[in-house]
Symmetry: C2
Subunit: 244 residues, 2 copies
Amino acid sequence: MKNIKLTLEYDGTNYQGWQKQKIGETIQGTLERAIEELIKEEVEVTGSSRTDSGVHAKGFIANFKTESTIPSNKFREALNYRLPEDIVILKSEEVSDDFHSRYSAKGKTYSYSIINRDVPSAIYRNYYYHVKKKLNTEAMEEACKYFIGTHDFNAFKSSGGSVKTTVRTITDLHIEHSGDIIKIYVTGDGFLYNMVRIIVGTLIMVGNNKIKPCKIKDIIDSKDRKKAGNCVPANGLILEEVYY
Amino acid sequence: MKNIKLTLEYDGTNYQGWQKQKIGETIQGTLERAIEELIKEEVEVTGSSRTDSGVHAKGFIANFKTESTIPSNKFREALNYRLPEDIVILKSEEVSDDFHSRYSAKGKTYSYSIINRDVPSAIYRNYYYHVKKKLNTEAMEEACKYFIGTHDFNAFKSSGGSVKTTVRTITDLHIEHSGDIIKIYVTGDGFLYNMVRIIVGTLIMVGNNKIKPCKIKDIIDSKDRKKAGNCVPANGLILEEVYY
């Protein structure tokens, strides 16, 4: 048995997220079908994250085990030939038998893109969240530093999903700002359900001067979901990279 | 009669170009319908350029004349409410009666985006042309300078369309290069049919070391379409700005 690791880019706009569902197309389902067509055996593809409907990825990691004799690096081309154009395999390689794309992950970087102007973007409407009111990005940048470190992020978690602990470590959270475009990058050892999107929603409240940057500490300490900001839409979110 | 100038952003992916056709959705047709629904009178909308199917715009200019009493700056919001999300009015304003979005134009800037890596982009597939072989961007940059100036660009024009002269002036042509992304920006007083896409196709031949940069002068002087490169796909092309 070989263990094949795939690095994927995908546009999540037309999918019901990564994980297979009873109804609707998913990335996992589409990828499994393409692999099964290729190797003529049933496979179970494991993913690094359960990205939600509409979330995109530039460096999603998946793996599957196979008896196939296809050279590991040839899966890329053979699968890209079979996949729709909104899912692209960037790399395929053999990894050790104990590699598991989710359990072996040591950290992840996500980005969230905002277009901050009067009107939404026509061209990038599936990739940028539109915020009309001018955001105070300096205040948002100041707020970022309060998130960094090891904290109980229960206030930044949507209900649903079962986790042993709501403690996570954020190693980086910063903002890149160019013209009307604001990009928020966050890196951590793992993220709770909707955690990135709730952090962004809270940073937007800071940018609207509704929360002072220094209040972030109190919100984290409260562990109270109601104290944090809204969960912003999925379309602005991109899984950038997974670390092992 | 008021003369209303509109600045538009649009994603051309799902349209048969700007100009109304007997069959298929166009930007012009969609915009005229939205205006007519709003003001309950027939209008003819004039556009700054006849962008082809799949070409995008960040700063397309259109104008129309109307008896409507709607304040000029309110057309933006009222039309965005009626337009599909892949067409967005950025600005609406009253201009003098003799303003004509095409004939009054003094110049235009286009950009063309290339993703230069082994595999295409899943996320930006409608906006980046995929070139697999590594391009020599230094040679491409050197080639750019031969295009700048006033020349007969007959070698860089697809057949079709009627023009009095094939002489045009290019005031700027330069390349921005970041990671896998190559963006080519060109500014001129006007462009022949497919001229930008043929210039890009020729620059790609330079980037593939099939044409030496200094040979661009000979190609221009030949006025022979067969000497220049291919017309690259529409999806990488964006009309950035129109100058008056």
